[in-house]
């Protein structure tokens, strides 16, 4: 059914091993930066097909976790598997099969939208005929066909995010990692991104693991959330369950405050806040 694709591209499709193994599994995963333990003894299990949210205030260790799962950062100790492959020892196997959208803006402003897609299609070794088709499909899917030949530095923040999602789906990743996908976006752009993520999952069956510190986003999008605080998971469950556990018509905000303390900015260093603001400004 699938047209002829390169061996590499075929490998990153819905890998057979992926259906058996959980999308993500970490065992006592830990990462230190000097004296600071950014991720502490983390045990996570993300079932295939889920939209899983990693929640937590600034500095909780969400980005560090994602960087370890996407093979960007080596764990200090413990282990993590993505689709059954160890992120440290089988990093290339992992990389063929995942997509990643960093917290920072990752589309290249000095290229057009089309060129941004083209380069990544080539990096993932998608063959020529298939490439053209997938790029066109991604542009249409994300509503960017008209802007394909515009330099990305002229895009709005919402368009850039959509382009990044388009980039990340070209090779049909089995797991998609998104780090704060809607930070700095206006409400309309945020809702558009949510809709696209839901569609993406429906159409391609990808597992989505995203971080956010926005409760509404978690409530709207995620089936399971893990609340992180100071590098540890302090609560785990569906948004509905977590609210019920707290009782008395609690909102997810209440749950968040309950588990992480009231101070939203607690634990966040100047650097983290500055970075979020910077991202927001660039997007705004």
């Amino acid at each position: 059914m699938r047209p002829a694709v390169s061996e590499a591209a075929a490998r990153c499709g819905s890998g057979a091993e992926g259906s058996a193994a959980p999308a993500v599994e970490t065992v006592r995963l830990m990462r230190r930066f000097g004296p600071l333990t950014a991720v502490d003894d983390l045990n996570l299990l993300v079932p295939a097909g889920a939209i899983f949210g990693l929640l937590g205030p600034n500095g909780a260790g969400k980005s560090t976790t994602i960087k370890m799962l996407t093979t960007l950062l080596a764990p200090t100790s413990g282990s993590a598997r993505v689709l059954g492959f160890d992120v440290a020892r089988q990093s290339v196997e992992v990389r063929w099969r995942i997509g990643y959208i960093p917290q920072l803006l990752s589309a290249d402003g000095s290229l057009t939208g089309y060129e941004n897609l083209l380069v990544f299609a080539k990096l993932y070794d998608i063959r020529r005929a298939e490439r053209a088709r997938r790029i066109q499909e991604a542009l249409d899917f994300m509503g960017l066909a008209d802007a394909a030949d515009t330099l990305v530095r002229r895009y709005s923040g919402g368009m850039i995010r959509r382009l990044e999602i388009a980039q990340s789906m070209l090779h049909r990743p089995a797991v998609l990692f998104l780090d704060e996908p809607t930070v700095g976006l206006d409400p309309v752009a945020r809702h558009t991104v949510w809709t696209h993520l839901r569609d993406l999952r429906r159409q391609f069956g990808a597992t989505i693991l995203m971080t956010t510190h926005d409760m509404e986003e978690a409530d709207q999008l995620c089936e399971v959330v893990a609340i992180m605080h100071r590098g540890r998971v302090v609560a785990l469950g569906s948004p509905a369950d977590l609210k019920v556990t707290l009782g008395g018509g609690a909102t997810l905000d209440d749950v968040f405050v309950h588990y992480t303390g009231t101070a939203f900015e607690e634990g966040a260093r100047y650097q983290d806040v500055a970075r979020d603001r910077r991202t927001a400004r660039r997007l705004g």
Partner: protein, 256 residues
């Protein structure tokens, strides 16, 4: 293997496409070497003190200035890598299945292409200045190869430095400190024979020296390479391979 090549080309293609969107950048970057040629070359050409063999001083220094212009641009290549890291562009490349060697080689290749296009501008001006250029196809191809090799070497070196120092401020400081010694501890604007022994020792360890040596023969009518073209290219090719190995090792460290 072919996957490796395709990925290398994909990285280089991205850079070349950026150049196409901003061709003015190439022009502005050609200004500095042109000043060197026009002002420095003319003035020093009046001195008869510098023993340049049968070449005029202007003919002697033109290859050196070409190599220098390549060096000065390539050595700051690391800045763009740090910039891409700050933006988050680099993260996505590192998460792609392309090997680190392919990512670094692609960058080196694009620096080579960029340098070749700059060389054309310098060539045109050199011709106007009546510098005695060798214009045979073989010679010009040789010049282009030598320039691409030099740009690849110094841009990869720069990338490796960027991965270690990590911030733009520190990198700018180090870049300034590196360029002048690389330039002056070479045969770019005076012959090796003129140097004190210690400087000659440094120059012999400087890849720029071999690049200039090759360019002298390839570019100038009547110019002669001191070490021979095979040795010139072999030394610099080995240096490049070593640097790409080092760069590939350091590349992932830039994001931590």
């Amino acid at each position: 293997m072919f996957v490796f090549l395709r990925q290398t080309l994909a990285v280089a293609e991205a850079e070349v496409r950026k150049l196409r969107h901003d061709p003015m950048e190439l022009l502005t970057r050609a200004i500095q070497p042109l000043l060197w040629l026009v002002v420095f070359g003319r003035v020093f050409g009046r001195l008869r003190e510098i023993p340049t063999g049968q070449l005029s001083y202007l003919d002697f220094m033109a290859p050196g200035i070409l190599a220098q212009s390549v060096l000065f641009i390539a050595i700051f290549y690391g800045i763009s890598v740090i910039w891409e890291r700050d933006l988050g562009i680099l993260h996505k490349f590192l998460v792609s299945p392309a090997s680190r060697v392919a990512l670094v080689s692609g960058k080196a290749l694009s620096a080579g292409v960029r340098a070749m296009s700059q060389a054309m501008i310098i060539y045109a001006v050199a011709a106007l200045m009546k510098i005695h250029l060798r214009l045979s196809v073989g010679a010009v191809l040789g010049v282009l190869a030598s320039i691409a090799l030099g740009a690849a070497i110094f841009s990869t070196f720069s990338l490796a430095v960027a991965c270690v120092v990590k911030t733009r401020e520190r990198f700018m400081g180090i870049g300034q400190v590196l360029t002048m010694p690389l330039f002056f501890a070479s045969n770019a604007i005076y012959p090796l024979a003129m140097m004190p022994a210690w400087l000659r020792g440094l120059a012999a360890a400087n890849p720029l020296t071999y690049q200039v040596d090759a360019l002298r023969e390839l570019m100038i009518d009547g110019g002669r390479s001191l070490f021979g073209l095979p040795l010139d290219f072999a030394v610099d090719a080995i240096v490049l391979v070593a640097l790409i190995g080092l760069g590939a090792r350091l590349y992932p460290k830039i994001i931590t």
